[in-house]
Symmetry: C2
Subunit: 887 residues, 2 copies
């Protein structure tokens, strides 16, 4: 006979924590707690196989199930000293679903099952509290009618509301026992009216009704859709847990509470928790009564009596349980407990949520305590959590007047006066004012303003919009896509959805981690990269194989990144340098030139500036590799768009307005992302790339010759789709590089490689590798083209896609391993097929996202490259990947 029912109760546990597939997550956890000797209210689990059989056999239960349930129930009765359906000592139970993983749409919980007009008397006798008994009874009817009998919850709720109105009271708690008793009558009558049959009085019938409802909910529409979208087979089924009820609200020898085995906000190693006397679990959360501390240890900032003082015996038991839990789980636990008439019951234990700071402190301490080893400590820290530690943040205790919410585009917090243009940001900043730059959206022309500002707020664009990407790169806080604000450039003001008006010069604070816009200044907490942090990162570095580089375009960024542990530059975007100061004029002159000579003379002005950039960056990165990407964006990005700006340019350049205007219009593109950019520019205007290669090589030669440098510049050609593009540009670059080396009389080694950022490049990587010394996967553009999805435009529907589960995650945030990842893997394999020593890296935004970093480790990349501020995250994620592999 198949075993369909697993009993759990003190000393008699049949399941264990490993049996999640059979018992579901909840059932397995309950079994595990008992098996390590914790006092848990007795109960039993109907296995997921019952569910499977149920649907296989046209919604009939397998033979023998009824007997097994009856047998398990009698064991509960024995242990708890009560009897299901007994009018004197009635046993009440809860019925809960429990699949392998929790799932929306599934029936959740029915409490107090077993109550009827007879057993409620027993509860009154047991508790001596008719109000408690009737309150439990009416709650049971409400819950059961709703989730089992599928009545609209509003129907009974409105009766309750009407009664409170009649009685002139506001809270449910203000109704007395008589009221509640009457409510039970009214409820039952209403059920009869609505459903044409009475509310079930027989506890057995109630029980099977609830069990059937749980199983039935496995096949409801919402659950089916969820499984379809998440690729969960219907055959998994759900388990059902039946457990005896315990009550913390039966008198002053009763209590309920929650606790953490260590301090969840600092990680300090002491017992931290709260409880309430004579209360139910929900009272602790609801905030109607102020919870009391469980003990008298430090941080007790309450005058209320502690549990240690009030219920010392139970408290001591809890302290012992804390030890047991930490020894067993070797992790900080978050527990729930209830004390019924002096007897302590554990309702739940799970790994406790904590701040990043606490997580690191706990992990490092546990290594010292010998509970875990360094590997486990490293694995304990979610790399994404580190982000909290690397930026200033709003003081959690501060009062905030939040006036709008947008996307948390770049973490950190910043305060300043509002300005609406990049030029003004720069100007105000020169006057030592802290500014917040507010734009509908940003473009490369705003870079200088973004540099000058403390933070950036945009009304449009997603997590990977220009503002978001650049701000993250700069480690600057940013709230993007804030549809709540309407910006009026003309009036130099913004209005929020709720009607708040913010004018130029008004002070606001941005919380880039929460996506909040706050009126006025707010106190902040500075990041503390403590000794624990350094310890942990040291262990991580020991384990990882993947190198971690950074994306940096300036000497400053390079320095910051090196301090964060970057081992080179994986992406230096030369075009960012084109926007600074007077350069943009020379760049525009180059674009507007009608002849090769005109372009060359403008490029000659840019050359020394680019060279000095590279000198600075090479010095900061001495001894480390630096990958420099040649010009990538389409030329129109460098030209002004408004008529005023066009007029200004025309005046400066001494060209007629109409001519400039025409040029701007000629360069207009329908889909700039797929336009005349990257290596396509290099082929149309070889002189541009030639100038850039010359600047790179002159800088390198000069340093090698004069300063005894070790440097291997890696020249990267973007947007290659066909090997011929690279072949042509490689010939050009080599010619320039060799000429420079000859001129300086030094030999500088350099590599020439390409971005793999178009599907075709990945598909043809074997051919392309013939012309490349290295590949760097540009997963931003690769994601855009593989999905056919513009990251600048995706904001309109992507949030909805994710909310509805059509996409599990935003593919611009976490690499889409199944799709885009297939191309990356293909690119690696094909590339190394042709050239086994091919250097492989990735420089998209995903280089700093942990799940993506793990994937990049798995497919054998040499390095990832990410924003300076995400370098520690990538280091830790790389260690996770290496450790996962060695398992």
């Amino acid at each position: 006979m198949t075993k369909y029912v697993y009993f759990f109760g003190e000393g008699q546990v049949e399941g264990s924590g490993e049996m999640k597939n059979l018992l579901g997550g909840k059932g397995a956890n309950l079994a595990e707690m008992i098996s390590i000797g914790l006092p848990v209210p007795a109960g039993f689990t109907l296995t997921t196989e019952v569910c499977t059989e149920f649907f296989k056999n046209n919604q009939h239960y397998p033979d023998g199930l009824t007997d097994q349930v009856r047998h398990a129930m009698s064991k509960i009765e024995e242990l708890m000293g009560k009897k299901f359906g007994d009018p004197q000592q009635p046993l009440l139970v809860s019925v809960r679903s429990g699949a392998r993983a929790s799932m929306p749409g599934m029936m959740d919980t029915v409490l107090n099952l077993g109550l009827n007009d007879q057993t409620v008397q027993g509860i009154i006798d047991q508790s001596g509290d008719p109000r408690f008994a009737y309150d439990s009874y009416r709650r049971f009817i409400q819950m059961y009618s709703n989730v089992v009998l599928e009545m609209d919850g509003e129907i009974l709720e409105s009766i309750l509301e009407k009664m409170k109105e009649d009685r002139g009271v506001e809270l449910d708690a203000d109704l007395n026992a008589a009221d509640l008793k009457q409510l039970v009558e009214l409820f039952k009558k209403k059920v009869q009216d609505e459903l044409g049959q009475g509310f079930p009085e027989d506890p057995e019938e109630q029980l099977w009704g609830a069990i059937g409802a749980v199983f039935g909910s496995w096949m409801n529409q919402r659950a089916i859709t969820y499984r379809k979208l998440n690729d969960i087979p219907a055959e998994w089924g759900t388990a059902v847990n039946v457990q005896s009820m315990v009550y913390g609200n039966m008198g002053d020898d009763c209590a309920t509470g929650v606790a953490f085995t260590r301090d969840p906000s600092t990680g300090e190693n002491y017992f931290y928790g709260e409880y309430l006397l004579n209360a139910q679990g929900e009272d602790v959360v609801a905030g109607i009564r102020t919870p009391q501390p469980i003990n008298n240890l430090k941080h007790k900032d309450s005058d209320l009596p502690s549990m240690e003082d009030v219920l010392p015996e139970c408290y001591q038991k809890l302290v012992t349980i804390r030890e047991t839990l930490e020894q067993h789980y070797r992790e900080m636990q978050d527990i729930e407990f209830t004390i019924e008439k002096g007897k302590l019951y554990m309702l739940q234990t799970r790994n406790g949520k904590r701040t990043a700071k606490a997580a690191i402190h706990i992990a490092v301490e546990m290594v010292k305590e010998g509970l875990i080893d360094e590997k486990e400590a490293v694995l304990r820290i979610d790399p994404d959590q580190l982000d909290q530690l690397l930026h200033p943040s709003i003081d959690p205790a501060a009062e905030k007047n939040i006036i709008a919410k947008g996307l948390p585009a770049s973490p950190g917090a910043a305060t300043g006066v509002v300005v609406f243009s990049a030029d003004e940001a720069e100007e105000q900043s020169r006057l030592k004012k802290r500014v917040i730059l507010v734009r509908v959206e940003t473009s490369p022309e705003d870079i200088h303003g973004m540099h000058a500002a403390q933070g950036i707020l945009t009304a449009r664009g997603g997590m990977t919009s220009h503002a978001a990407v650049v701000a993250r790169g700069m480690g600057k806080c940013c709230v993007a896509g804030c549809g709540d604000v309407k910006i009026d450039y003309e009036k130099q003001q913004l209005t929020t959805k709720s009607g708040v008006l913010v004018k130029r010069g008004d002070m606001v604070t941005l919380d880039g981690s929460a996506g909040e816009v706050i009126l006025g200044d707010v106190p902040k907490v500075q990041p503390e990269v403590s000794g624990d942090f350094a310890n942990l990162m040291g262990w991580a570095d020991k384990f990882r194989r993947l190198n971690v580089r950074t994306n940096a375009d300036t000497p400053h960024d390079s320095k910051v990144a090196r301090e964060f542990g970057a081992e080179g530059i994986g992406l230096c975007r030369t075009e960012h340098m084109f926007f600074e100061g007077d350069r943009i004029q020379a760049v525009r002159e180059m674009i507007l030139a009608k002849t090769l000579e005109g372009r060359k003379s403008a490029l000659a002005k840019i050359l020394p500036m680019q060279k000095s950039d590279f000198l600075g960056i090479f010095r900061e990165m001495k001894g480390l590799p630096v990958t420099i990407r040649l010009l990538d964006p389409p030329l129109h990005e460098f030209l002004p768009q408004t008529d005023d700006d066009v007029a200004e340019l025309a005046a400066v350049a001494g060209i007629r307005f109409s001519e400039v205007k025409e040029h701007v219009e000629q360069l207009h593109e329908f889909n700039p992302m797929l336009g005349h950019r990257g290596c396509r520019l290099g082929i149309s205007y070889p002189e541009v790339y030639d100038m850039q290669v010359q600047a790179i090589m002159e800088a390198a030669c000069e340093l090698v010759k004069n300063e005894g440098f070790e440097i291997v510049p890696e020249i990267m050609i973007p947007l290659v789709s066909h090997v011929n593009e690279l072949a042509v540009l490689r010939v050009n670059a080599v010619a320039v590089a060799e000429e420079v080396c000859r001129r300086y009389g030094v030999k500088v080694n350099y590599l020439i490689g390409t971005m793999i950022e178009l599907p075709r490049a990945a598909l043809m990587a074997d051919k392309i590798a013939r012309q490349a010394d290295f590949f760097s996967f540009g997963t931003n553009d690769l994601t855009q083209t593989t999905y056919g999805l513009s990251r600048d435009d995706a904001g309109r529907f992507l949030p909805d896609y994710i909310e509805r589960g059509v996409f599990v995650r935003d593919p611009f945030v976490a690499l889409d391993k199944a799709g885009v990842g297939q191309l990356v893997r293909m690119g690696c394999e094909k590339g190394r097929q042709t050239r086994p020593d091919l250097k492989l890296g990735i420089c998209g935004e995903h280089g700093g996202e942990p799940s993506s970093v793990m994937f990049f480790h798995d497919i054998g990349l040499d390095y990832v490259s990410c924003s300076p501020y995400r370098v520690p995250i990538a280091r830790l994620a790389a260690a996770h990947a290496a450790l996962a592999e060695s398992e």
Copy 2:
């Protein structure tokens, strides 16, 4: 001893036509001609292995080569009765390169080699013509100095020019023998001055100099780059051909000519050709003298004496040769011949170029004659050629005043008065005027004007711009991307680069096959789809496996396509229907609606119109499958863009201008191609797709119920990147379809499938197939995303890419088999892995391009779908593919 030299001469041929790899193309052909008994001037070929050895051994020739060359030379001397370097009976030779395929950058030809101050006397004696001898001599020095000695050709040319000036003559031919003799002296002196060494007098030295130059040119920069871009290994090498010279200009028993074994313009089976007495080959081409017909057969529209009359013996020999050639090659041949002192020499034979009409006629006739079978006849016709037959064209005899050139975007020719707006095109057309619609570029809003116009001219956009694609779909002639014209909408005129002004109402003619804009009207030739054509297509249909469907959006297009042999509709774009007449108002109302109810009420207006479209199309395609794509383009394409149009819409819709304007701006996208379109709209606004499915199913049900129809609508969901998108939309579509069937009380079978037009869809095809009854590859968008290349913007650099050989072909014209093709193949394989019965087709522009059709056959698609006017092309290409496979 390896054989390095292959001799050819009457009765002594050592090579054959199959030995192309060893002898190169030219050498193999010469050997083949001799082996079938044609009189060819004797010569020999140095094999490609010599070239390979030469470069392997540091530019030294292999041992024994000199002996083999000397031996071969003596055999020439024997056959020709002359001697190399002999002052009395000098043998002169030509030296030519000959790789497997011709290659730019390679040394081409040196003629008259063997001349020096002694041998020129022998030529004078032989020919009795000192002018002829010295002219040959000075030409030899010029050619040799340039290609072998690498002197700038201008240097000697300028001496020649100066002499003509001194002599007061205009043509080279006006210089006499003494002049030419002096020129030889001047040339040799100049060579001495420039190079510091005399012009080689020794014929042996000349010969080895020329051979070395040919081999050397295999490794010149241009040839290397060409090989690199075209993936030709350097190891292939080139051959060198040395052949004795013969002269058609040594007197009146000499002649030269070219001929076709059948008429190349009609295909008629008679001998057609021209010759000149006492002339060189280049004289026939140069047009200084009028060539004479070779015989007196029909179409002799010349009074000049024919070769049949003047040199009857030689003519009879030529007639015999014609028979031999046709029997041997079983193909119409294009031949070159020379008669030296009464002896006929064949210089070349190759398959003759011909018109499409001729090609078909010849193929069909040759089947009747038993020369070839039906399979071969089908294979003989280049499917692309058919295009000529399916559209009217400019009369080749007509005079044309070409005022501008653009891209030949859609074939055919059309004349009309110029209009600058779609509305006026429609208006004028209603007044029975024939119009040419001229736009900077077209958008979906211009469709009604394009329908009304005879032809379309645009200043911007490439071969796959909106104008080009739509025009080809309509079978309407179009010249696109005509940068030569500047359009001024305000003044309602255009100006060409050359300054011609064309005003509204002026008459122009477009030649869409040549990309020409012609002033005024020009006579045209109507297409003649003759009996031969029908015969051939019938044979093609017997052999092909691939089905051919059409892309059609209207009953009219459907009808045309069916007449051209379409076997169903592979792509019916519902959005084209959204632009017609009053519909656009309802569509805009739908887009501007702020609530679901608002959208639904607007959709209710569109429903009956869409339904009537489908009724019409289903009736035309009775019994055949019809694939209907649900709404694809982003919504902003349906909204007006200019302020005037916005104001009009605001007035009609009764909404404030600013509100409409804001809505238009909100919908603006950076990269619409990658934006909120396709199934993404279906997920955001399910009511739109629901309406479309309802219209499709109501039309189908009505026909099945009332008209006894057989129809299986195939509902196609565009732009899917993730299976979940399709899963969600499939559930919606099935619900609507089932509801309609229930309502009508009939059972209509329908399929639900998806476009595979994004790289991710191909990569994840195994998953997507779980939700799809069919796949249709959208290779236009797939090419755009795989290359990261917007076809609307590619015009700026793609022509340059193709000209320079970076891309071999425009990937929007011919499918990129290596890259995009990989994804299509992957999509097929993965799709069928999940669902072996999955129906597979393709509906991009490539469906009508022969090389692409062959690829689609190879990977096992069920059908291709193309513009109505390309259906015969696809049918023929499909037959080619099937026949190639069965080989």
